[in-house]
Amino acid sequence: MRRLPPVAITAIVFVVGFALCTAQFPNFASTRVAANLLTDNAFLGIVATGMTFVIISGGIDLSVGSVIGFTTVFVALAIERLGVPPLVAFAAILLLCAAFGAAMGAIIHVFDMPPFIVTLAGMFLARGASFLMSTESTPISAPLYSTVSDFALRLPGGGRLTAIALIMLAVVAAGAVLLHFTRFGANVYALGGSRATTALMGIPVGSMTVRIYMLSSVLAGLAGIVFSFYTAAGYSLSAVGVELDSIAAVVIGGTLLTGGQGTVVGTLLGVLIQGLIQTYINFDGTLSSWWTKIVTGILLFAFIALQQAMLDIARRAGPRKTGVLKS
């Protein structure tokens, strides 16, 4: 049990949860439910992948929900009001998000400020900017949108694996490769272990910080585009509180909030567990949706307590320390 990695525990929680749901509702174990689980949480999966990088590097990004909201409004207005081709609008918003993330990363590094307060300012800025553009919901009727929402891979059993679900799976796969098999990924882990040591090892801490927040913001922008596919509209109040959902998904996925440990696959499982709770509540019909928040909170606590216990064990084990120091 001591050697069991946190992501395995997440996987067990997910499988047990799914089995319990199936035991109560025999219809639960269908490709239809599974495909919907992926579609409904596609944007969350994308944004949580970016958050995984940030948290493993020892930071946090509170601006992602606002960036999603900003993106949906920007894309909707560009396509509907200005007549910009959708793909051009997508390229423009992703560039804008990259610049936004880079700016936050630069401020965090240059002025040595806590990431949480810098990204908090970013959250205000992005949400305020989207309010300024439009406070109304703008429907998007571009042909590309109907093409994308009509596209789906038919699964045996009636499930439809939609385009946005496929985009999400692709992002998760690419994120996993980037984190686990590249030098960039190794540097992210190093940063989360100890900034000072990382700098002494000759890794450019500044440019790494900038690139990590850039990645998070770009993925938030992509999540915003996916969200606009999902709702076929742009609305400045969309995705309020998604930053909390994605942080919760990352933590439930077994990533250490102090940084230095974690996996992208775990994050996907964390997203799916939250989706599972929501789906269960929908199936049940008598429970209210606020139980999602309570159960998510309980799971958060369980995983954080578990991490803390594992850290204590590692610390007691003597010289083989994990490199994560409690301040």
Partner: protein, 331 residues
């Protein structure tokens, strides 16, 4: 005389008070009747009173938050605690009267604070993570209490707490002043404030010096929960109802902002409850100013983002050292 001038210029809080005066002056320029006060039905009215009154919940949150931040902590759950306390007070007020409703709401705040403090002080979880749990789950709990509805009430004494007046001053303002005096007396009238600052400055060294840092940390989170609950009750009393979805939404950020504007560093250590109050007033004066000027209220967020960045830049050690070099070069 020059030395007195210099001491005045270097005294803490001058920047904040100047900022508040500048913002009030801008408000006055935007709306000429800003400073007008009038008495009606035994209560003062006017934009200035409005700033104090509307700023009361954030001021109360900031009062608790400033102690938490002084210990190098943070409490993200205050908005959710407000929602819980408001929901409890609103559900109980009509049937059981104010004393019991107030006691239950404050008791809930106490429990929430105890929970946060337990996670931070005893289990040693980082504050931002520990309080995130209640931030996520708390709003769900509040909705459980109101059963998803907006609970309204008519109990006159609870309504008075949000809309009444004492000697012409709105009750929320009186409550904030009372809490400020209590907090100030406790932390500055005893060594407690010093011990809290020591805990925030260096917890390990404080522990070795014989300070019971765990007890300190537990106590500040409990106090923060209590202040948040009081803020929740006042916010509910103000609108004569409890809305579990929106009560206290985003206010944790305003409270943190108020504390940071008040010059308390996020890295713990020296703190000032009075300046945190000034910070809360600055935020509210900005909000009111934007409303009066006819700009859309959404503009608020942009202004706040700019203010956070500027204040943080001024606080940043690197920025400060660059400033000190310049200052010395000028002398």
């Amino acid at each position: 005389m020059p030395s007195m001038m210099r001491r005045l210029l270097q005294s803490r809080g001058l920047a904040q008070i100047i900022a508040l005066l500048v913002i009030l002056a801008i408000d006055r320029a935007v709306s000429p009747q800003f400073f007008d006060l009038r008495m009606q039905d035994g209560r003062l009215f006017g934009s200035l009173i409005d700033v104090l009154n509307r700023g009361a919940p954030v001021a109360l949150l900031a009062l608790g938050m400033v102690l938490v931040i002084a210990t190098r902590g943070i409490d993200l759950s205050v908005g959710a605690v407000m929602a819980i306390a408001g929901a409890i007070a609103a559900s109980l007020a009509d049937a059981y009267g104010l004393p019991l409703a107030l006691a239950a709401a404050l008791g809930a705040g106490l429990l929430c604070g105890l929970w946060n403090g337990f996670l931070v002080a005893v289990l040693g979880i980082q504050p931002i993570v520990a309080t995130l749990i209640l931030m996520v789950a708390g709003r769900g709990v509040a909705q459980l209490i109101t059963e998803g509805r907006i609970v309204t009430f008519t109990a006159p004494d609870l309504v008075w707490l949000g809309n009444g007046a004492v000697l012409g001053v709105p009750t929320p303002v009186v409550v904030v002043l009372g809490m400020l005096v209590v907090t100030g007396a406790v932390v500055r009238g005893s060594a407690l404030g010093l011990l809290i600052e020591a805990t925030g400055g260096n917890a390990r060294a404080s522990e070795l010096a014989g300070i019971r840092t765990r007890g300190m940390i537990l106590a500040v989170y409990v106090w923060c929960g209590l202040c948040a609950a009081l803020a929740g009750v006042i916010a509910a009393a103000d609108i004569m109802g409890a809305d579990a979805n929106n009560a206290g939404l985003w206010l944790e950020l305003d409270a943190i902002l108020a504390v940071v504007i008040g010059g308390t560093s996020l890295f713990g250590g020296r703190f000032s409850p009075v300046l945190a109050m000034v910070g809360a007033l600055i935020i509210q004066a900005m909000n009111t100013g934007i409303l009066l000027s006819g700009y859309p209220p959404e503009f608020n967020l942009l202004v706040k983002a700019a203010v956070v960045l500027i204040v943080l830049l001024l606080q940043s050690p690197r920025f400060a050292s660059a400033g000190a070099v310049l200052w010395r070069a000028q002398q």
